[in-house]
C-alpha cells in the first residue's frame, strides 16, 4: 500500500494543511510520497523532505502548473496514480478543485473532507453542514480523498529524510489560464491555522465598527473571522467567512462578538477548544455552545477587554 499526497504550498514552504494531511496518511498506513506541483516550487522540496513520515518527495515544477490549474494538475496526477492505493490532498480550495477531476479520470469516486480514519478504506466525514457525521467505506480500487486539516494534528516538520525526485513529464491541456489573483495581505495568522480567532457578526453594525476587532485581534495575536451575515453586509471580504460555506476552524480560543450563532456558522467553529461569546441578546444560540458567555453591549465590552489584556 502506498499513498500519494498532493501538497498545499506557497512556493516557499508547505502549508500546515499539508502536515495535517500527512498525519491522516500515516493513520491509513503504508509509504507516503509527497507531490509538490506548481511553478517555481522547487524550493519547497528541501523542507518537505524533512517532514516525518515521508518516503519520497516528487517535484513537478513547470509553468503549466502555475497556480495549480486543475486541468493540468489532474492530468499529471492521473499519470502517477497507478503506483498508489490512496491519493490524498488537504480539502483546500486547490484540493477541492482538482481532486474530483482526478477521481473521474480514474473512474472512481471521491471521499470529501474526512475528519477521521477508521481503517484503510473507512472514514468519517461531516454531512448536512456537520449536523450529521457519516461513516463511509470506499469500494474503489484507488481511494481519492480530501482531508479536513483541522481534524488532524500536524506532522513533525523535522526528523524525516525523504529522497527528492524531479518529474520531467508535463501535462499542458491549454484549457485554462490565469488572468489575475488578489490575495488579502495581512500580518495576522491565517484563519484555518490560528491559535486564537476573534470573529464578528452582523451585530458589529458596520465596516468601521468591525475594525475594532482588528485591534483586539492584534493584542491577542489572533486571526479575524466573520459570519456570512457580516460578509454579505460588506463589513469584511469573503475570505473572512467561517461556517458551512466558508472556512472550518478549530483554534484554542474562539471569541465570537455580536454574532448569534446560526447553525451554518456553528458548523464552522464548534470544534474550537474554548469558545467565548459576547452578545447583548442573552437568548442568542451562541451561548448554548460557549464555555464563557458575556451578556453585554459589545461596544463597551470589546474596548474594555482589550484594555484588560
Amino acid at each position: 500500500m502506498a499513498i500519494l499526497l498532493i501538497a498545499e504550498h506557497d512556493n516557499t514552504a508547505l502549508k500546515s494543511a499539508t502536515l495535517s494531511t500527512v498525519t491522516a496518511a500515516t493513520q491509513i498506513g503504508g509509504d507516503v510520497d509527497l507531490l509538490i506541483v506548481g511553478s517555481g516550487c522547487t524550493a519547497v522540496a528541501d523542507s518537505a523532505a524533512k517532514v516525518a513520515g515521508i518516503r519520497k518527495v516528487l517535484v513537478a515544477d513547470n509553468a503549466a502548473y502555475d497556480h495549480e490549474i486543475a486541468e493540468n494538475v489532474a492530468d499529471l496526477i492521473k499519470g502517477l496514480a497507478s503506483d498508489y492505493s490512496h491519493i490524498l490532498s488537504p480539502a483546500t480550495t486547490n484540493g477541492k478543485n482538482f481532486m474530483p477531476r482526478v477521481a473521474a479520470l480514474l473512474d472512481v469516486g471521491q471521499i470529501s473532507e474526512i475528519m477521521s480514519v477508521e481503517s484503510a478504506d473507512t472514514f468519517k466525514r461531516p454531512i448536512y453542514a456537520g449536523n450529521a457525521i457519516a461513516t463511509v467505506q470506499s469500494l474503489d480500487s484507488v481511494k481519492v480523498i480530501t482531508v479536513r486539516a483541522t481534524s488532524f494534528d500536524p506532522a513533525a516538520t523535522e526528523g524525516g529524510s525523504a529522497s527528492i525526485e524531479t518529474l520531467s513529464q508535463v501535462s499542458d491541456t491549454g484549457l485554462s489560464r490565469l488572468v489575475s489573483e488578489e490575495l488579502a495581505q495581512s500580518d495576522r495568522p491565517e484563519l484555518t491555522t490560528a491559535k486564537v480567532i476573534v470573529a464578528g457578526g452582523r451585530g458589529m453594525g458596520d465596516k468601521a465598527h468591525f475594525e475594532m476587532l482588528d485591534t483586539l485581534a492584534d493584542k491577542l495575536g489572533a486571526a479575524v473571522g466573520a459570519t456570512r451575515a457580516a460578509v454579505d453586509a460588506g463589513f469584511v471580504p469573503n475570505d473572512y467567512q467561517i461556517g458551512q460555506t466558508g472556512k472550518v476552524v478549530a483554534p484554542e480560543l474562539y471569541i465570537g462578538v455580536g454574532l448569534s450563532g446560526a447553525i451554518q456558522h456553528l458548523a464552522g467553529m464548534k470544534d474550537s477548544k474554548v469558545i467565548v461569546a459576547i452578545n447583548k441578546d442573552e437568548d442568542a444560540p451562541i451561548f448554548q455552545v460557549a464555555d464563557y458567555g458575556l451578556v453585554a453591549d459589545l461596544f463597551e465590552a470589546v474596548p474594555e477587554l482589550e484594555k484588560a489584556l
Binding site: 486543475a70 480550495t93 488578489e182
Partner: protein, 249 residues
C-alpha cells in the same frame, strides 16, 4: 449557445436534520424539500445569460426521484426553457450523476454547463469537476463573477485567501458560489407558465449508464454535543477565567 444547468432536490435550507434512531441515515420523512441553494444560483445565472442575449436556450436537468419534478418546475418558473428528469430511486453518487450528465452534454452540445458548487446534503463538492473531467471540458469552480466572450469565459473564483480570475475555454463547466448573484423569486404567472413547459423523463439506462456505488454508507450519527458553559458577569471575570481556568491567554 445552449446553457445546461443542473438542480438537486435536497432538504430545505432552514430545516434542521435529524439522524434516524437506528443510525442508518438522516430522517427525510415528511421533511420540506427544496432546490439546493447553490443550484438556484446556477439557474439564476443561466437565465440572466439568456436575458442578456448570450444564451439561446436554458435546459435544466435533475437526477433523482419522481418528486424532483417539483424542483425542475421551480427552475422552469425562474426562466429555464425545458427540463429533463433522469429518474431513479437508487442512491446516486457523484460519479454516476457526472456520467449521465456527460451523455446529456454529448446529446445537447451546450456551450456552458452551470452547476452549484456543492449540495447541502452530502456536501461533496465533486460533480461539476467530475463532469468536466469526463467530457474533457475546462472547469471554473466556486465562481462569484462571470464574463462570457465568443471563445472563453472569464471567471472570478473564491479561493483560500482571496480571489482568482481565470480564463477558461468554452465549452466549460462552471460551479457557482454564494456571492455570484441573488436568485429571483418566481412570479405566479411564471409558475403557471412553467407548468406548460416541456419536461422529459428519462432513466439512467436510457443514457447507457449503470448506477454504481463507489461507497457504502455504514453509519450516520449526530455530532458530539457541546455543553453550554457559564455566564460571566463582566469583562474582568472573563479575563480571569481565560487566564486561570481555561489557561488560553
Amino acid at each position: 449557445m445552449k446553457v445546461l444547468v443542473t438542480v438537486k432536490r435536497v432538504i430545505d435550507y432552514n430545516v434542521k436534520v435529524r439522524v434516524k434512531s437506528d443510525n442508518t441515515d438522516v430522517d427525510l420523512k415528511n421533511v420540506k424539500m427544496a432546490v439546493n441553494p447553490f443550484c438556484e444560483i446556477a439557474v439564476e445565472q443561466a437565465v440572466r445569460l439568456k436575458e442578456a442575449g448570450k444564451a439561446t436556450e436554458v435546459i435544466v436537468v435533475s437526477m433523482g426521484p419522481q418528486n424532483a419534478q417539483e424542483q425542475l418546475r421551480t427552475a422552469l418558473a425562474m426562466g429555464a426553457d425545458r427540463a429533463i428528469l433522469v429518474q431513479s430511486d437508487e442512491v446516486l453518487e457523484s460519479l454516476t450523476v457526472a456520467k449521465v450528465l456527460a451523455k446529456i452534454v454529448e446529446e445537447e452540445q451546450p456551450g456552458l454547463v452551470i452547476m452549484g458548487k456543492q449540495s447541502i446534503d452530502t456536501d461533496n463538492n465533486q460533480t461539476g469537476q467530475m463532469l468536466a473531467a469526463l467530457t474533457g471540458m475546462s472547469q471554473g469552480t466556486f465562481i462569484s463573477g462571470l464574463e462570457i466572450s465568443d471563445t472563453e469565459a472569464q471567471v472570478v473564483r473564491e479561493i483560500d485567501g482571496g480571489l482568482q480570475t481565470l480564463a477558461v475555454k468554452l465549452p466549460a463547466v462552471l460551479t457557482v458560489d454564494l456571492r455570484l448573484n441573488e436568485p429571483r423569486y418566481a412570479s405566479l404567472p411564471n409558475i403557471m407558465k412553467a407548468k406548460k413547459k416541456p419536461l422529459d423523463t428519462k432513466s439512467p439506462a436510457d443514457y447507457g449508464v449503470e448506477v454504481k456505488a463507489n461507497t457504502r454508507l455504514l453509519k450516520v450519527e449526530p455530532p458530539a454535543e457541546r455543553q453550554a458553559g457559564i455566564k460571566v458577569a463582566n469583562v474582568a471575570e472573563l479575563v480571569e477565567k481565560l487566564k486561570n481556568e481555561a489557561k488560553v491567554i
